[in-house]
Amino acid sequence: MTQPILEVCDLSRNFGGLLAVNQLSFSVIPGTIHGIIGPNGAGKTTTFNVISGFYAPSSGHVTYLGKDISGIRTDRLAEIGLIRTFQGTTLFNEFSVIDNVRLGCHVSAKSGFLSRLLGADRESEAVATKKAEDLLAFFNLSDLRDEEASNLPHGHQRALGMAVALAADPKILLLDEPFTGMNPEETARMMTLTRDIRDRGITVMLVEHDMQAVMGLCDMITVMNFGSLLTEGTPKEVRTNPGVIEAYLGSAHHAS
């Protein structure tokens, strides 16, 4: 088996007295789409936030490319290729579409103060703009290049959010509920895009509610319940696991 790109080891996180994640361990294999699912309140989002550096773990650790990254700030993680997206449409709404993606190129377009002042950053900026334009083409957004992001239809905004994340050159891309609030057509398009991203050699880890999308898309699935690992496996293995069925039915019961 290949070396995992991301490893979560005995991870726990509590808020006050509440244990949101309890002794969770799993690993993500490079080049796969890895899903984390579970009923409401299973601790998926907390797990996601700990991995992406928003919270520090209470105990345990997260390893990325063999390096312990627990508690490291989001922007540092981004510099080493671990990029997260946000639920819904989080964009620089006031920027044009191209400027959104150009800002995504932040790390690769680094330049000193004086060179920016004197315009010596022209070359690296041209590279960034080219990269942004290529990404817009990839997401079929080229026609909307100079449109203000807030004017885009919802589906395009979600795609733009992915484009911003890709601009940051991820080695692993963490998607936070990428299918929430999408109609079936948008979901199908987003699934294709996610596969295309994986085929570019970028590992994808996602947290999601939409079971159907997850089953159809992911190579590996980690199922959480009550903050702990319930089971792990391929979609086929997970689908037939009695514990998973019970957890989902049980939560549906509680909800009604």
Binding site: F86, F92, F95, D99, L103, H106, S111, R116, L117
Partner: protein, 334 residues
């Protein structure tokens, strides 16, 4: 950004403006020339303030930072005998350095808390000036600050010459500030304002960029303070109190902070109203009241500031229908 036609228009406009500014003092009376000196200094102050607001944080300590530059430059030249041009640079640097230090407590706060925090930090600095008679001169402040040395036969005691000096210093400063805004720095500052979490997720160190904006803004505010101190020859804590900050806010808001020129329009328009019209009419006492009313009116009826008038005029001249009111950038933050 990449629009070269706009860039050319901007350049033509800037050069015409510069020519007008060069001729201006010849058309003015002595006291008006003094006002012109202060106006140029205030332009730098308010434009540097706008750089700070790009990141979405509104400081109430900017005038105190200007004062830091003024005090520092005055002290370097007066007590340590540093030549004035160098002391001005050192004063501005001291202001910038103050911002670096203040960043650590202040940028743990955002929005309203930052506003209050910057106010408190500014008041602490003012109290330090007041309390420590050495070296700050206490409540009376410093006087007999060395003036800018003569260059050949040019005496900077003459407001016209000092005006030209300020014009050079401020033009260079504005050019730098403009370049900063048009570069990726400007884009990143805006990004911090609207979505700092998203900016963070693609690798922007939000603290460092906030600190950069604050430090740059403070450096140029400090420079404006130094220009002020060596012209007027005296500084005291009251000169840099919250009332003065209110005027900076008024200039910025009445002008509008969405564009680079907005605050400049604000400070020029209000200085003309203030020092030409009101003074001529003998309305000196009710000046704050008029300022207050203008402030309320502009927040209520012109949330985009005076700058919003220009695009409207342009549209009108081109015979197009005016679009419905666009987003208000000046008013809705933090």
């Amino acid at each position: 950004m990449s629009d070269s036609k706009t860039t050319i228009t901007v350049w033509i406009f800037a050069l015409t403006l510069l020519a007008g500014l060069l001729v201006l003092p010849q058309l003015l009376s002595y006291s008006q020339r003094e006002i012109a000196v202060f106006l140029i200094i205030n332009v730098l102050l308010v434009v540097s303030y706008r750089l700070m607001t790009l990141t979405g944080e509104w400081s109430l300590g900017h005038v105190v930072i200007m004062g830091v530059g003024a005090y520092a430059s005055a002290l370097f030249s007066k007590r340590l005998g540093v030549p004035v041009p160098l002391s001005m640079f050192l004063g501005a640097s001291t202001a910038g350095l103050t911002a670096v230090v203040l960043s650590f407590p202040l940028f743990r706060m955002k929005g309203f808390y930052f506003l209050i925090g910057s106010f408190a930090a500014g008041e602490v600095i003012r109290l330090i000036w007041k309390y420590f008679t050495f070296p700050f001169g206490g409540a009376k402040g410093l006087n007999l600050i060395p003036s800018f040395p003569d260059i050949g036969w040019i005496s900077f005691f003459d407001p016209v010459n000092y005006y030209y000096l300020c014009l050079i210093v401020v033009s260079v400063s504005l050019f730098i500030l403009y370049r900063v805004e048009r570069s990726r720095f400007g884009l990143t500052f805006h990004a911090l304002h609207w979505q700092d979490k998203l900016a963070e997720s693609v690798g922007v160190n939000t603290f460092r960029y906030r600190m950069l904006a604050f430090t740059l803004a403070s450096f140029f505010a400090g420079l404006s303070g130094a220009l002020y101190a060596h012209y007027i020859g005296t500084v005291n804590p009251t000169r840099f109190d919250v009332e003065e900050m209110v005027y900076v806010l008024i200039w910025a808001i009445v002008g509008g902070t969405a564009t680079f020129y907005g605050p400049i329009v604000g400070v020029v328009a209000l200085t003309i109203v203030n020092d030409v019209l009101l003074r001529a009419l003998g309305f000196d006492t009710i000046r704050p009241m008029i300022y207050g009313a203008v402030l309320i009116a502009s927040v209520l009826f012109m949330p985009d500031g005076l700058e919003s008038i220009f695009p409207k005029l342009k549209r009108l001249m081109m015979g197009r229908k005016t679009e419905p009111a666009t987003k208000s950038e000046a008013g809705e933050i933090p």
